[in-house]
Structures are given as structure tokens and as C-alpha cells.
């Protein structure tokens, strides 16, 4: 008999550790022999803490479990899958799980994150083994053919970036994994680092083999202490087992990884600011060109990829580029790791093929608002993403479709708001956030964000509305076109979408005088 209780920090934030202790104590008191494992999370957070047990038919889940439920679960013989009000049935049959297409997250919640044996048994290192038998050009060809694009937000084709690094003259090159997951509403990188850390390291190693890089850096934000511990342990285990180091799996080819921790600066999620930070400097962005692929870390050719991008690579090499590209639509191939949060009944992580609509995600998987009030807005793509009204939930989740509707998919976060939201306040917050997090390098972002807060405040206070709307319009254009990076350049998105779709919230006592955002 064995039970699985998530050790994921999100699950623990709602009591998974307490449940694990209660289960162990109860089993001991009853003299029941059982194995207890700490797995990652499946991402079905409304069911956390979700306890799973092995049965002949597969994993059966119970949740959300509190310590007080534990004696009753033992009375119901839950370790053998017994009937209980909290019994959810087979994990594979939970509707919100069954409708997913898990590639990047196939092992998260399934295995103990730091078990090399379990990782191997579930297909781990098959991609690396395949890559070791391929030329760099063939690896890159497979990644390109899969259609994999950067999951951090920019959506740049991963194969093309790798090719650029491969094409640079020999010498030190670097693989940098961007795990500075600062976008509010997103938590996929954290879940994967805690739930399946080897997949990230395997992906980084394959990137190293493909581009001729022997060193990798994993940059993790300081707000993720549990993820940083998991990754440090994972690196040590792979070094000890010969998967990382001077001779990767006995191939004679070197690759190793070190963890670096951020220090509370959102801008370091931007790749050039991240490189500055890795070099020990202020996280101030660099103008491009030169691209990091040509002159990146310490002035050397560098692949900077998001955690999810790198962690998806092993599955592509193991299962074939065609199998991955078979998911998805148009130029958005494969699966999209969507993270649903905010005022939603069933928040969590849902890995779905590109092309699924926002409605299927928010209402189908998410079950609508948690408050039961009407849904008013969803913010797609983090703090720099657009606010969409309920009428636009028919938008398909794919890079181009979201962009055509005036938004951006970003890192896949979707935050739901009910009808109590004040969109003028949300627009003001977008400017305020930009002012707090601006690195200060360029004027449109550094000064524009502060002026933006002031102008929106004046609009809310009904001061000289016509003039201030025109001023805001102008300011948004300057920030969008004149900023050096996405922080200043995209902050206009949430602001202008709020103005466009929710003008009534800016009206207050005076009548809205019309603005063309």
C-alpha cells in the first residue's frame, strides 16, 4: 500500500505537510504498513491537498484533505481506494485532468521529484540518450521541426535561437535557464522545478550538446525558496550519477549547471537584465543588438530559454518532433501550459493543445468565478498582458490569435476578475507596477510610468478629463514605441485594453469623453 502526498509548496501552503504528518501518525497508530511518498502537484489546486493512492486500476485521488479527515479516510480503507466523500476516483478520470494533454508536465505529481529511478521509469533521459547519438545540427533540426517556441512570452522559435549560438565561433558558450517567473498569475516554472526538476536539467544538457555549450546557469527568483532547494538537490544528484559533469552519461562531453538566485527584481525576467544580474551587476537591460545568442553572458554566445521551453525539449527528442507538432494550430505547435488564477472556482495548471479557447479554459476547466458573480474581465499573459472582457472569451489560445485581439499570450497566465473589479484601478496598478519595477535605463519607462499613475489619478478625480485622456493616449504611444524592453513597451497593453473595453469605469461622475486607445 502506498500513498502520495504533494510536497509542492503551493500544496503545502494549504496544509499538505500537516496532512502528511497526520497520515503517517494515523498509520503508525493503527499498525498499518504503508509507503508514503511526497510527489509534486498535478496542478489541480482547488483539490489540494490532494492525496493519491496506488490501486490495481491506477492512482485514486482524495481531496481536498484536511488533517481532521484523516481518521475517517483510514476507516474507509482509503489506502486501498475505499469509498469516502472526498474520493475523486482515478486521477486520470478527473474531468479537468482528463481533458488535458500533458507533455511538459506529464511527470509532475506522478513521481517523487528527486528519484532518478522514477524519472527514468517515466521516460526520463530518453531524450538525452537520443541527443547523445545525434549531431548538433540534427538536434536543432528536430527542435525546429517540432515548432517549439519560447514559453517565456516572446514566442521566438527555439531552434532558430539555438542555431544562432551553434553558428558562433568555438569558445565558451552558455545555456541560461530563465526561471525568474515574475509574472503575476503564473506558477508553472515553480511547479516544474519542485515537481520534475530533472526534466529542466535534461533539457539544458540537450541544449548544451546542440550548441557546443558546456556550462549552464539556472536563474531562480528569490521568492521561490523551495524550488531553489529542489533544483540544487537535483543538480547534486545528477552530478553524482554522471548525468552532469565532465562526461555526460559517459559520452566524454561535458555539461554542468549552477543555480543562481535573484534578489527581488521583476525586470530580471527580461533576458538581457537577467544576464547582467548573472554577471553580478544591477539588473539593467541591454540594448539589442547584439543579441544574447551572439554576445550574451560574459560577452559570449548564450542561449537564454524559459524553464518550460527547455523542459519540453527532452520529450520532443524522445517522442519525435512530429508527435509534438501534431498538437496545436497554425504557427502555435505543441501544448500550451496555461495557469488559471484569481477569482475562479477551479484554479490550477492546465496543459492543453494550442487552439483551445479562453472560454474552454476559464469556464470549462475553471468553472467560472469563485464568487459566483458574473465574470467581468480576464487578464491574459501576466501584469503586462491585456484585459479581455467576457465577450472575448471565444479567443483561441495561440500566439497569433491573442495578438490579433490586442493582447499577448506571455507565459500563459490567466487571471479572472468578477464584476466587482474597478478597471480604472487595474489600469492605474499596471502603471504603478511598471514604476516600481522599472530598471531606470530608458526614459519612457522610468518617467512615463510615474506620469501614467498621475494622469490616471487625475482622470479618476475628474480633473480636466479631455486633456488628460489625450495626454494618457500620447503617453501610452511613447511608452509602447520608445521603451527599450517589454516592461515599458507592454505596460500600455493592460492600460489601453482597460480603456477600450471598460470605458465606463473611467467615467465616474462626468461622462466619458471618448479616447482612442
Amino acid at each position: 500500500m502506498s500513498a502520495w502526498i504533494p510536497g509542492d509548496s503551493g500544496a503545502c501552503s494549504v496544509g499538505a505537510d500537516d496532512v502528511a504528518r497526520a497520515i503517517a501518525a494515523e498509520a503508525e497508530a493503527r499498525g498499518l504498513p504503508a509507503d508514503f511518498h511526497r510527489n509534486g502537484s498535478r496542478g489541480l489546486y482547488w483539490l489540494e491537498p490532494m492525496v493519491e493512492v496506488d490501486t490495481a486500476g491506477g492512482r485514486v485521488a482524495y481531496g481536498p484533505v484536511t488533517p481532521a479527515d484523516v481518521p475517517g479516510l483510514f476507516d474507509a480503507a482509503f489506502l486501498e481506494g475505499g469509498a469516502h466523500p472526498l474520493r475523486l476516483g482515478l486521477v486520470a478520470d478527473i474531468p479537468e485532468f482528463a481533458r488535458q494533454d500533458r507533455v511538459t508536465f506529464r511527470r509532475s505529481g506522478l513521481i517523487e521529484p528527486l528519484s532518478i529511478d522514477q524519472y527514468r521509469a517515466e521516460g526520463g533521459f530518453a531524450g538525452l540518450e537520443a541527443a547523445l547519438a545525434m549531431t548538433p545540427a540534427a538536434i536543432i533540426e528536430a527542435v525546429t521541426a517540432s515548432g517549439l517556441r519560447g514559453r517565456g512570452g516572446a514566442g521566438f522559435p527555439a531552434g532558430l535561437k539555438w542555431q544562432t549560438v551553434l553558428d558562433q565561433p568555438a569558445g565558451p558558450k552558455y545555456i541560461v535557464c530563465n526561471a525568474d517567473e515574475g509574472d503575476s498569475g503564473t506558477f508553472a516554472d515553480r511547479m516544474l522545478m519542485e515537481g520534475d526538476p530533472f526534466s529542466i536539467l535534461e533539457g539544458m544538457t540537450i541544449a548544451g550538446l546542440a550548441t557546443g555549450a558546456a556550462e549552464g546557469y539556472l536563474y531562480i527568483r528569490s521568492e521561490y525558496p523551495a524550488a531553489a532547494l529542489a533544483m540544487a538537490d537535483a543538480i547534486q544528484l545528477l552530478q553524482d550519477a554522471g548525468y552532469l559533469g565532465r562526461s555526460v552519461m559517459g559520452s566524454g562531453r561535458a555539461f554542468d549547471v549552477q543555480v543562481r538566485i535573484g534578489a527581488g527584481a521583476y525586470i530580471c525576467g527580461e533576458e538581457t537584465a537577467l544576464l547582467e544580474s548573472l554577471e553580478g551587476k544591477k539588473g539593467v537591460i541591454r540594448p539589442r543588438p547584439p543579441l544574447p545568442a551572439v554576445q550574451g553572458l560574459f560577452g559570449r554566445p548564450t542561449v537564454v530559454n524559459n524553464t518550460l521551453t527547455l523542459a519540453t525539449v527532452p520529450a520532443i527528442l524522445a517522442g519525435g518532433a512530429d508527435a509534438y507538432a501534431a498538437h496545436g494550430v497554425g504557427r502555435s505547435r505543441g501544448t500550451s501550459v496555461m495557469q488559471l488564477a484569481g477569482n475562479v472556482k477551479r484554479p490550477g495548471l492546465f496543459e492543453v493543445p494550442f487552439g483551445v479557447t479562453l472560454d474552454e479554459l476559464v469556464n470549462g476547466c475553471g468553472g467560472g468565478t469563485a464568487s459566483g458573480r458574473p465574470l467581468r474581465a480576464v487578464q491574459v499573459g501576466g501584469p503586462l498582458g491585456a484585459y479581455f472582457p467576457a465577450s472575448m472569451l471565444d479567443t483561441p489560445i495561440d500566439y497569433e490569435a491573442v495578438s490579433e485581439r490586442g493582447g499577448m499570450l506571455g507565459h500563459g497566465g490567466v487571471v479572472v476578475f468578477d464584476d466587482t473589479v474597478d478597471m480604472a484601478r487595474q489600469a492605474r496598478f499596471a502603471m504603478e507596477f511598471c514604476a516600481i519595477e522599472s530598471c531606470g535605463k530608458c526614459t519612457p519607462c522610468r518617467i512615463g510610468s510615474t506620469r501614467g499613475v498621475e494622469v490616471i489619478d487625475r482622470i479618476i478625480a475628474n480633473e480636466e478629463r479631455t486633456m488628460n485622456f489625450a495626454l494618457l493616449d500620447d503617453l501610452l504611444e511613447v511608452m509602447r514605441d520608445g521603451s527599450l524592453c517589454g516592461l515599458g513597451g507592454l505596460t500600455p497593453l493592460p492600460v489601453s485594453s482597460a480603456l477600450r473595453h471598460f470605458p465606463e469605469d473611467f467615467a465616474r461622475t462626468a461622462r466619458h469623453e471618448g479616447v482612442t486607445p
Binding site: S13, S184, P225, K282, A341
Partner: protein, 161 residues
């Protein structure tokens, strides 16, 4: 994850110099050194600045610039407990404003300030990656989810010695 242990060593320039010497050859050593010193002493003492600058061949201004740029680094001793309340969008959508207000009442300080009894620093944070369990709070490195305003005083009481 066990509760983070709280408590720092008093400033010790010789110990700091040893730590810096151990780490100064790391590529891009400045942030790792600052993390180590802050982890040991709770903050970056002014006397650490010339030690770091000397070891890394940086100017004093460059080192101070790095310390000041990152919101995590402190130049004065912290309170015993660090409370970080998430004020980003997902938590906003489910009432983080009410949670933040309750915390300011209980601790007797504004967001960004120190509690009246000097034991708690109340800091804003823009996303803890626990958005599916919003509203979220971090106390001394330990994450809490679905934190209603009424539950906040109880959580603080748990860490109150």
C-alpha cells in the same frame, strides 16, 4: 519544508572577509556574496561594501548600486520576522486588499514598515507563484495560501514567540 529558522549572527568583519574570499572567484560573484552575507548577518553592513569592492575589483559605488537596485538586499538589520503579502493581480482578484489592511491593523504599521513592537517587517511582494491558492502570504520564507483576513492574525500568532 520545515519552518525557516530565524536569527542572524552579529556583524563580524573578519568572518565576512573569509566568506567573500571563498566566493570571489565565482563568475559574477557579487550577488552570491551579497546573498551569503545577508543570510549570515541579516543585512549588508556598511563595512562589507569596501570588502566586496576590493575582492571583486569594483568601485564602492558599483557595489552600493547593486545593493540598492535589488529590493531583497537590506543595509540595516531586519526585524526578526519577515511578512511578505502579495499585492499582484491574482491576489487582488480575491481580496488581497482586505488582507493587507488587516495585516497593517494587526501589526500597527503600513505596508513597507515595521510592526509597533519591532518584531515584524511587513513587505509587499508582487507574486509568490501561489496564484492558484490566492490570496498568498509568505512568513519567514514559508508560503501560505487561501489566507483570509481573519486567518492572518492566527498565522502571525504561530510565529509569535
Amino acid at each position: 519544508m520545515d519552518k525557516a529558522t530565524v536569527g542572524f549572527a552579529p556583524w563580524d568583519a573578519a568572518a565576512a572577509a573569509t566568506m567573500i574570499a571563498e566566493m570571489q572567484d565565482l563568475p559574477g560573484a557579487c550577488l552570491p556574496i551579497l546573498h551569503r552575507l545577508q543570510g549570515e548577518f541579516g543585512y549588508i553592513h556598511d563595512e562589507a561594501v569596501p570588502l566586496i569592492a576590493g575582492a571583486l575589483a569594483l568601485s564602492l559605488a558599483e557595489v552600493v548600486g547593486v545593493i540598492e537596485f535589488y529590493s531583497d538586499f537590506r543595509r540595516t538589520p531586519p526585524a526578526v520576522h519577515q511578512v511578505q503579502v502579495c499585492l499582484a493581480e491574482s491576489c487582488q482578484a480575491v481580496g488581497s486588499a482586505a488582507l493587507a489592511e488587516r495585516l497593517t491593523e494587526v501589526l500597527g504599521t503600513e505596508i513597507g514598515g515595521r510592526s509597533a513592537d519591532g518584531r515584524f517587517d511587513l513587505r509587499p511582494v508582487y507574486c509568490l507563484g501561489n496564484c492558484a491558492c490566492s490570496p498568498a502570504l509568505m512568513i519567514d520564507g514559508l508560503l501560505y495560501g487561501r489566507v483570509t483576513p481573519d486567518r492572518a492574525p492566527q498565522l502571525l500568532a504561530e510565529v509569535w514567540p
